[in-house]
Amino acid sequence: MPIRLKKALLTPGLWRGLAAVAAFLVLWELGSKSKQWFGFQTPWVGAVPAPTDVVKVWIALLGDKGYWQSWYLSSMRVFGGFVAAMIVGIPFGLLLAISSTTYGVCFPTFEVLRPIPPLAWVPASIIFWPTQELSIGFVTFLGAFFTIVINVLGGAKAIDVRYFQAARSMGASSWDVFRRIILPAVIPSIAVGSTVGMGITWNVVVAAEMISGGGSQSAGAGGGLGFFIWNSYVGGSYDQIVVGMISIGIAGYISSAILRKLGELSTPWLRSR
């Protein structure tokens, strides 16, 4: 591991990346502070809080329970909606691929509903569901659901027909074909669909929290990261807005990294070429 770490540190790619991030931060800082330092306002960037101020506010927030509560609430909503989308979406996608009757009955409706942006569901969802938590969860679910279904369906349809012919010839039952041919063959598509779907759930959950008011507002910033940003905006603490934005970026990155790792672990035959 230390050798791998050493190797990673020696790559020019890493240094380029770090230099780019540093340059970005320096330019941002200069732009934000230009009025204070040079006496003229830089357009656009001049209105944004400077990174040093953001970091100060962030450090102060690290001890704040409400901030972590926002993380927790958003993560749980994403996790819940995403897992529900997997549980419903994977079997549904497979069913569409296997049964032409199901495909004929469900696919047209599915295709009409799919282009509707999840956020367009927010008002209807608030009407449908008894609690605000459930309406946010439902909209989050929709964000991942359509992507997962489409990927599973596409993956299952693309399976080489010779695999079925070979399996059938060797005496495999339908159940065996399903379990040992179709399922493993669609795992790569599930992995792709869930990574894309996870990105969408983060988009959706934050917007839904802003629109719906983020559920319980007891602790001021207790309604998830979306509500945290919105609340900061309403309260005029612009530094916190940026903290909230970067927090979402980090949360999304961690979720994608976990899913990528899980995808790699469940497809060893693609890893070891």
Binding site: R162, Q165, A166, R168, M170, G171, A172, W269
Partner: protein, 292 residues
């Protein structure tokens, strides 16, 4: 489906016989019908290696699907050991063009697929899998995935995956297509030895005339589409065969010349029809004939 035949004692090789009588196969409905096979009759004789050659696109792969039972003939009958073929089964296994190994299974799991699918994950079939791994020279590669194997290894793994089911007929659809010339030569030797040891009934389809003559006991020369058997040539060369002997054998060259002139004629027919594939075929074979 499964014929209930067990992965038995490997010394007791099954050798089946397939009779194809007056078979026709067409695709599409009403006036759009395309006849691919027409009035086609031949026998895949017990314990022999029957090789089918024909111009590309003539319907050989369709015949394979009929023999394997993936599709049903529109007319006529396909029989194995006197019983009509009604679907795919373990008694007739196909080794496909390129590789149809399951990419998500290791070599060993691929070979064990048949026995496991039939609930025969027994000590006996595991032992047989080891025996076959050794026989195809892949013992060291048992835990590798197909993508980690070379083209030649993949074909050998696929042969083993078929053989473990002890089929009475092995059907091979251009199995060595796409391999480089060196590997192809090695695979011919290897496959011929395997056949000579077992004397299982083999049905081998190819477009490569050298491959056909080196391997065949009987050579079926097919007509252009809609296909049927034009001529059956008995390739009465002694076994075991060696590539060098075949190249030098007058009898082999005689058969080759005869086969080539027939194939040339058939290919010309579709050339007249304007098929691009057939034009390429004629071109390639004319040059071969010229080289003699």
């Amino acid at each position: 489906m499964a014929t209930g035949k067990s992965v038995g004692d490997f010394t007791a090789i099954n050798a089946g016989e397939m009779v194809i009588s007056r078979v026709g196969k067409s695709y599409g409905a009403a006036e759009f019908t395309k006849e691919v096979v027409k009035d086609c009759s031949f026998t895949v004789e017990r314990g022999k290696l029957t090789v089918m050659v024909g111009p590309s696109g003539c319907g050989k792969s369709t015949l394979i699907r009929l023999l394997a039972g993936f599709e049903r003939a529109t007319e006529g009958a396909v029989m194995i050991d006197g019983k009509p073929v009604t679907g795919p089964g373990r008694d007739r296994l196909v080794v496909f063009q390129e590789s149809a190994l399951f990419p998500w299974m290791t070599t060993y799991d691929n070979i064990m697929y048949g026995p496991r699918a039939c609930g025969e994950d027994t000590a006996k079939s595991r032992e047989l899998a080891e025996f076959l791994l050794d026989k195809v020279g892949l013992t060291a590669f048992r835990s590798k995935y197909p993508s980690q194997l070379s083209g030649g290894m993949q074909r050998r793994a696929e042969l083993a995956r078929a053989m473990i089911n002890n089929p009475s007929v092995m059907i091979l659809d251009e199995p060595f297509r796409g391999l480089d010339a060196m590997t192809k030569g090695l695979m011919w030797d290897y496959y011929a030895r395997l056949f000579e040891e077992s004397r299982r009934t083999n049905f081998f389809v190819t477009t490569d005339i050298d491959e056909a003559i080196f391997l065949a006991d009987r050579l079926l020369i097919m007509t252009n589409i809609p296909t049927r058997v034009r001529v059956v040539l008995e390739v009465d060369l002694p076994r075991p065969r060696h590539l060098k002997d075949i190249v030098e054998s007058d009898r082999a060259n005689e058969v080759k010349m005869e086969a080539l002139s027939l194939l040339h004629e058939e290919a010309m027919k579709s050339f007249a029809g304007g098929s691009k594939a057939a034009a390429d075929f004629v071109d390639a074979y004319s040059r071969r004939v010229a080289r003699g």
